[in-house]
Symmetry: C2
């Protein structure tokens, strides 16, 4: 559809709830179809670009994003309500992520090349020449996230990983930040053009509502989906993907309360300091992190009162921050009201009052293990700066509660030297529950690095075998192919005799 004829929509200023100029065209289902057709047409050419060309494309995206300058940060700040300092850091993370994936592409380990040379004289049967590499799945649909308008959105983690893997990407921009989305989409297109990538390597659709996303996931040319958002949204995409004639993987990062265990010696030694630090992690970015600490498990004893008192004091001084969208604010209000209205739960403290229009009040609740046992829904995520402290009688009770929580992105243990030995029994539980286990830190803050895992068992994600942050994320968009006895001319270059790059030969690094 010609852009002039399109229906249009606007972003909303998070701090005021008012629309922001300019308006943007609403994509149509025909636009989805065209983007998927172009992505498919680009696939064979793009997936065989050499490492240097593909790395240069990823780096060029970062450069084009930087070239947008302060206008991008200003726009993102207005649309998200997140502070400029945070968005400056997030831009650095976004660009750094693209550079890191460029390095991954160059290193070549992601191809997982394996070569088992022929054994023509083996008895009773000869062995064929077998060579394996990872190949990209195909065009990937990426859904931008509202809470990271740069690092997990249009040119965010999933886009970077999919492009690095050799998959064309079609982004459905998040309607909470259409301006940010449009600017970043333009940067990617400019980078693709500048580095000579095939048309269709990057497609982009935007607009409110679910029709575009539904059409995108149902399109038979889409081979995988990356999503970060609500549990309801993620599960809806999973259902759509499973109902296709050819089902496809959906990597939906959905919900997590990120349990924090405070061990007795640490609590006794530094309960107050931990309480203050806890509220710092809880309220960062209005608590709108997937890794926000929404559940604290502590044994009643020395230090727990100091922990709670310090947390209450820190929270009481906390100024309200705008939330990302009206929908998120409403869900937060509903979730915290349910906790406040639960007879088994006591409100320990709250932050300063929000304006009721665009910002909400941080809230902290306390209950005991018995209440959680009888109502496990108490431990479900309330997205935003709300957390629940669960007082446990002893470590046995704490371990039992921990064993009942759902799958998580992170699980944290705060401990001192004397806690190490008693904490050992908790590690297997934490490991079964979460994609990342932390000691003496806070789960907010996710390093983009080779060893990072930002994933975890359902319902933290729809596929706990994967990560959405860090270089391992490239694996989610790959599948293995074995080439048996192929003549040199038909073999992919990296599988030919004498090709450079890391490989296993007969299963051993060579």
């Amino acid at each position: 559809m010609a852009e002039a004829d399109a229906q249009r929509f606007r972003g909303i200023e998070a701090a005021t709830g008012q629309p922001i100029e300019p308006d943007y065209p609403i994509s149509t289902v025909a636009d989805v179809d065209a983007a998927c057709a172009a992505a498919t047409a680009a696939f064979d050419a793009y997936r065989e670009t050499d490492a240097e060309a593909r790395a240069a494309f990823l780096e060029a995206i970062g450069e084009e994003i930087m070239a947008l300058g302060d206008a991008l940060l200003d726009r993102a700040a207005r649309e998200s309500g997140l502070p400029l300092a945070r968005l400056t850091g997030e831009r650095g993370r976004t660009v750094g992520q693209l550079k890191l994936f460029a390095q991954v592409v160059r290193d070549g380990l992601w191809r997982q090349v394996r070569i088992d040379p022929a054994m023509p004289d083996r008895q009773p049967l000869p062995r064929a020449d077998l060579r394996m590499r990872m190949v990209p799945l195909g065009p990937v649909a990426v859904f931008g996230a509202s809470n990271f308008p740069l690092a997990f959105s249009t040119a965010g983690g999933d886009t970077a990983a999919a492009l690095a893997a050799g998959c064309p990407v079609v982004v459905k921009g998040h309607p909470a930040h259409p301006g940010t989305d449009a600017m970043v989409a333009g940067a990617i297109r400019a980078a693709a053009q500048r580095t000579g990538m095939p048309d269709g390597v990057f497609g982009h659709v935007a607009g409110p509502g679910n029709a575009l996303g539904t059409a995108l996931v149902q399109d038979p040319r889409i081979a995988a989906v990356g999503f970060t958002g609500s549990r309801a949204g993620g599960l809806a995409l999973v259902r759509l993907a499973q109902a296709r004639d050819v089902p496809i993987p959906v990597y939906a990062e959905m919900s997590s309360v990120n349990p924090v265990v405070v061990m007795p010696a640490a609590l006794a030694a530094r309960g107050a300091a931990l309480g203050t630090a806890f509220v710092g992690s809880l309220t960062m970015g209005a608590g709108q992190f997937c890794t926000n600490p929404g559940l604290v498990l502590a044994v009643e004893g020395d230090g727990i009162d100091a922990f709670e008192a310090a947390a209450a004091e820190a929270l009481g001084g906390h100024a309200p921050q705008p939330m990302l969208t009206g929908g998120i604010r409403a869900a937060y209000a509903e979730g915290t009201a349910a906790l406040a209205g639960n007879a088994a739960v006591r409100e320990l403290a709250c932050g300063q009052a929000g304006d009721g229009v665009a910002s909400e009040t941080a809230r902290l609740f306390v209950t005991d293990a018995a209440a959680v046992r009888s109502d496990p829904a108490l431990t479900e995520e309330v997205f935003g700066a709300s957390s629940l402290i669960v007082r446990c009688r002893d470590l046995d009770e704490l371990a039992a509660i921990l064993d009942t929580v759902e799958g998580q992105l992170t699980a944290t243990i705060l401990l001192d030297e004397a806690d190490h030995e008693p904490a050992r029994r908790l590690v297997p539980i934490l490991e079964r529950k979460a994609g990342r286990v932390l000691a003496n830190g806070w789960p907010t803050g996710v390093e983009v690095a080779p060893a990072m895992v930002h994933g975890g068992p359902f319902p933290a994600t729809s596929d706990g075998r994967s990560t959405s942050v860090g270089t391992l994320a490239i694996d989610r968009f790959l599948r293995p192919v074995c080439y048996q006895d192929l003549p040199e001319l038909l073999l992919p270059p990296e599988l030919r005799d004498g090709a450079a790059g890391p490989r296993l030969v007969d299963g051993k690094p060579a």
Copy 2:
């Protein structure tokens, strides 16, 4: 339930359709529950067994299988109708597979250890110490396959890979070979006991019907499913797994026609020899291989008549072999009858007549590309020794047909030197369609090796990101966990400073 009180069932002799002594107890849903409980209880202990202990367990399974001697082969031959020579080879493959996974466990690459050392002085923020390893998913349900009573059944590929990964296994034995299944289950139990593995590391249920398998996949303690069998059976398990409160991965290897492209120069030079060799691959094991060549694409021209004539002659002399089960025989009869009754399809040849009770007749059909275009269902799998030759006008038409076939386990290209250049355009299509691309060989015969991929896009499997043969199969039962700033005592041994074993440090092999 006490075994004495159980309902009982018998195996059926494939060659005669008659029941075989003795009878075996039919497991109950309560037995499934008990096996899952025991597997869960064993999980934490089993997954932390050291590499040497776990490898010794895998090797002991192989030894106990060998100790069953000829009685195992005789029983498997009676139950499956497969010849003793084939089953002797299959036993070797089964034991070799267990030994290979023992080596994989010892090598340690499967852990995918990554270490990103702390950077306490990094600006603007320090980096935490990040360490990653793969951990097992949890108890795995394995469904035995009828067509490989040893190598893909009770102690087959999925069992070996899951046990190697650190997952307890609960096998649902295939009811077509209850005696073989019971003997091998006993061997695994003996090996577990002899090597001191925790009780519950291996569980086993058996019986006809779907109730046991349904209960197993629905059990909340099962974390993944391995299956080899029919498309209907695999999809039913996938649906059960997706409908759980916590969905789990299902690795179902389902259906494949394994297209074989015969290139013009090869056809002209050696059409007759290729036709004879094709029938050898087609009729092996009564065609009851997942990798059976069920679709041949060839350009009309020199050699195609010789190819067809030689294939027809070879097939005409083919003696009928028993099929695995009555159900498979009935489905084969139905599928071949549909092809024979299709006006656009001509029957080129058939093998000698079967007895109509326990054996079937190999059949070969011919059609043209236009017929396949108007009825793509012609290219769907008929499990058994049936194949369809599709005559194409030229390579363009052949490529277009190839591009419409469903996902496959294998895709083969038969070619001579002069075909190399024109074949290049087909490789990307073959690669998008299949998990393994072969040149100048036959897809039957799947090497158990590091570079093997026995998998492929849907509907060849339910998850094309994985393989069920070869050492890469261990990955399907793993997920990554990151450990951030954990004190030494709480770190898994292989992640501690100075631990032996392969690893990436800051993303680079160290």
